[in-house]
């Protein structure tokens, strides 16, 4: 079935205890769901710098979205979910609560996680602020300019 991807490349994250605005996967249509199939992080820094990145369920109601460009694996299919950043940023529960979190080094560090079939992270559609309709990625540590990238792929 149709899969989609959004990415931040040569990105400058904002390190924050709870705000997570690397990207926010958002599904606003009730009755629809989307499944996260894969996500990745990677660095191309030239100095050793510790990063900590989290992926988790949004626990507030972010506002003023700016959509990231979404790529589609299947021709002719428009995604229902979107991937955004927000003027009023999405927040996650305090660290270490998360769907997944990793400490890594932007000096060549990186990884990709493929979620198992049946074990995908599901976002369930609903108006903004509805529980489980957003998954966000953000950095607790690591704000180096233009040296890290974050990608998410999902299925609808």
């Amino acid at each position: 079935m149709a899969q989609f991807a959004a990415s931040r490349g040569a990105f400058t994250p904002v390190a924050h205890a709870t705000q997570a605005d690397n990207f926010v996967l958002t599904l606003l249509t009730a009755g629809n769901t989307a499944r996260v199939k894969m996500y990745s992080w990677s660095g191309r820094g030239l100095t050793s710098t510790g990063f900590r990145t989290r992926w988790g369920r949004v626990n507030n109601t972010p506002a003023t979205p700016t959509a990231l460009t979404v790529s589609s694996s299947n021709p002719g299919v428009t995604p229902v979910a979107s991937c955004n950043t927000y003027g009023t940023q999405a927040t996650l529960a305090a660290d270490p609560t998360a769907l997944f979190a990793v400490d890594w080094n932007v000096l060549g560090g990186g990884g990709a996680i493929v979620l198992p079939i049946g074990g995908e992270w599901i976002v369930s559609g609903g108006s903004l602020g509805t529980a489980y309709n957003q998954i966000a990625c953000g950095n607790i540590a690591g704000a180096e300019a233009s040296t890290s990238a974050y990608t998410i792929q999902w299925e609808e």
């Binding site: 149709a2 249509t29 009755g31 769901t33 499944r35 299919v77």
Partner: protein, 287 residues
């Protein structure tokens, strides 16, 4: 020997107290005060305790002797209700689920659907119906399944597209079954907006004197090749009192992958001459 496992569900909930769908415990929906208008949103299930992977629906008691009765029902959800809490803010999960004189009288076994669609725990479920007849009623039975023992083997959909429904007249796209032979394909019911893999069919007629009959219908996609998506879905008229029933499955699971952008068609065969003005609506599950 290596064992190939299968999935089954270890949780379910329904609105008819685990009795058969004809029991009065099922929910009676009332159509709007004018023909072809939706009635009020009706709560069916409070916020469910587990994630739902399959929705089965059966319509019954929506028949009247000598009267054309067709319904289109919206399956409503409130994703924010919370476990055990009734819904209050409804959204449509599946729109215009078609039924035609659905009955549980002798010779009829309800008008059934099966949707592998995910609903998260805490979602409340409701419904609303329109009918050809103002303020008419239909009984709505629903059962949800969850807690798969092998979730990796449990394919579940993310959304449902309704294709071919005309709400202004509570009808679908014309299909003329053959008599003791497969009829020609209908015109296109519409175009898939998403890749789809699971198929359901609704059949209606416009006949005040329906004839006892047994029908089998196929769903196909692609204007040229007519790839079969579902085959031999049973629809029957069980008596001369305008009482009908439909199966959710045909000869096999109604599974075939079809890409967005292709059109959908229906054909059918009846044992005897078909009722007047038969129509079809298709439901395509994606994800």
């Amino acid at each position: 020997m290596l064992y190939t496992p299968v999935n089954h569900f270890t949780w379910q909930v329904n609105n008819f107290s685990d009795t058969y769908p004809g029991n009065a415990a099922a929910t009676t929906l009332t159509a709007g005060g004018s023909a072809h208008t939706k009635g009020s949103d009706t709560a069916i299930l409070a916020g469910i305790a587990e994630d739902c992977y399959v929705i089965t629906i059966a319509f019954s008691l929506g028949d009247t002797t000598g009267t054309i009765r067709r319904q289109m029902t919206d399956l409503l959800i409130d994703p924010s209700a919370g476990v055990g809490v009734g819904g209050s803010s409804w959204s449509v999960a599946i729109n215009n689920i078609y039924s035609n004189s659905p009955s549980l009288a002798t010779g009829s076994s309800a008008y059934c659907y099966y949707f592998p669609l995910f609903l998260k725990a805490g979602t409340a479920v409701g419904a609303r119906v329109q009918d050809v007849v103002a303020s008419a009623t239909v009984r709505f039975s629903i059962r949800l399944y969850g807690k798969p023992n092998r979730p990796e083997l449990c394919k579940v959909g993310t959304k449902v597209q309704t294709i071919g429904a005309t709400t202004a007249t509570t009808t679908g796209v014309a299909v003329t079954p053959g008599t003791a032979a497969l009829g020609s394909y209908s015109a296109s019911l519409g175009t898939l907006t998403n890749d789809a893999w699971w198929w359901q069919l609704g059949i209606g007629s416009n006949d005040t004197s329906m004839s006892v009959n047994r029908y089998f219908f196929d769903i196909a996609h692609d204007a040229t090749a007519k790839y079969i998506c579902a085959q031999g879905i049973g629809y029957s008229v069980g008596s001369t009192a305008e009482q009908a029933a439909k199966t959710a499955f045909g000869e096999k699971e109604p599974i075939r992958e079809a890409p967005a952008g292709t059109d959908v068609y229906v054909r059918g065969a009846g044992l005897n001459a078909p009722d007047s003005s038969m129509t079809a609506v298709v439901y395509a599950v994606s994800g």
